[in-house]
Symmetry: C2
Subunit: 194 residues, 2 copies
Amino acid sequence: MASSTRDALVDAAVQLLDEGGPEAVTLREVGHRAGVSHNAPYKHFTGKEALLAAVAARELTRQGAAVATATTLRSVLHGYVDWALARPARFRLVFGAWSTGSEELAAAAETARAALIALVVEQQRAGRLPDGDPERLAALLQALAHGAVALTLAGHLSPGGKGHASPGDLVDDLLGYLVTAAPGNPAIRQLFPA
Amino acid sequence: MASSTRDALVDAAVQLLDEGGPEAVTLREVGHRAGVSHNAPYKHFTGKEALLAAVAARELTRQGAAVATATTLRSVLHGYVDWALARPARFRLVFGAWSTGSEELAAAAETARAALIALVVEQQRAGRLPDGDPERLAALLQALAHGAVALTLAGHLSPGGKGHASPGDLVDDLLGYLVTAAPGNPAIRQLFPA
DNA sequence: ACCTGAACACCGTTCAAGT
DNA sequence: ACCTGAACACCGTTCAAGT
């Protein structure tokens, strides 16, 4: 209760972001929706970017928590894709260009990364993913999911209805190729016997 | 010579974009650097976004031409990554959120896509890539390269120096997995005989 | 400690006017 | 057809002042 104004400001900022994109997030309108004056935000945040960083950190923290509770690697990646497609403005904000690196945001990103790596290790032990540095394999998976969403949002992925590969499809494609190259594949086991 | 002012405006915009990011691109400074008044741009472009769209289209057109002249799939993807890392502001602009879709930009994207698909088809015929829809495979490759760059620029990829996988490394990783799953791999050929 | 109202500098855009 | 200068509305930020 001590600083409920701060939460109200972040809430208003998220609301405006979803409604009209980043240019709709003005400190004046944020303050108005939070029931305070147009420069009250400066009593809680250094400036506009610090407010947006708080929004991004909260969003990424929730996303990281969702990753931690997920059980399968595929569901994590599909959850990532679904979130980004449903809330494109939040997705762009979280991974946008920050002039000052918020440590809160970095911590949230690290949590999500760790959860993903744990799932990769688990799948590697089951022989369903290739061997090798799990961090690097996790980076490969996240990069593909991220890029597929980003290109889709930018309209640069299969503009026509022909080769209509959705981000979810591409995630499944990659997982399939990795399974093929995994030690659990009998053909691969023959090539590289234990 | 008819509209050299237009080119001067685009040149100035690119220069400002590289120097100080998108917020440094103000119509006033663009006009000043082009040697005209602060609202002369309105005689050549609908508004600021149209000017930025022209910048993006020119950049993507050049990128597409580079793809068309490249000989190997790997060199195309590494060229994409190197360009994005060297000119992050241009990369972000090209794939940013456009409220109005410039057809010039869309055409440039289509050209680059077609060149990439042609290279994929060629590699498939050589048995060095898995079979299947080449458009979809091209989308997979582009999505990975794009996502690896985007996460790196956002600082969300291997922040520590430990699992230091660069975008170029991830591109090579994916190509390696795809080669493993390709018909040219003897183990795979044994599983799926022609 | 938290908030307000006025004020400043800056920017995108419009308009009347010039050649 | 292309350009200029003034003007308008809007926004981020600062400041003096209030409780």
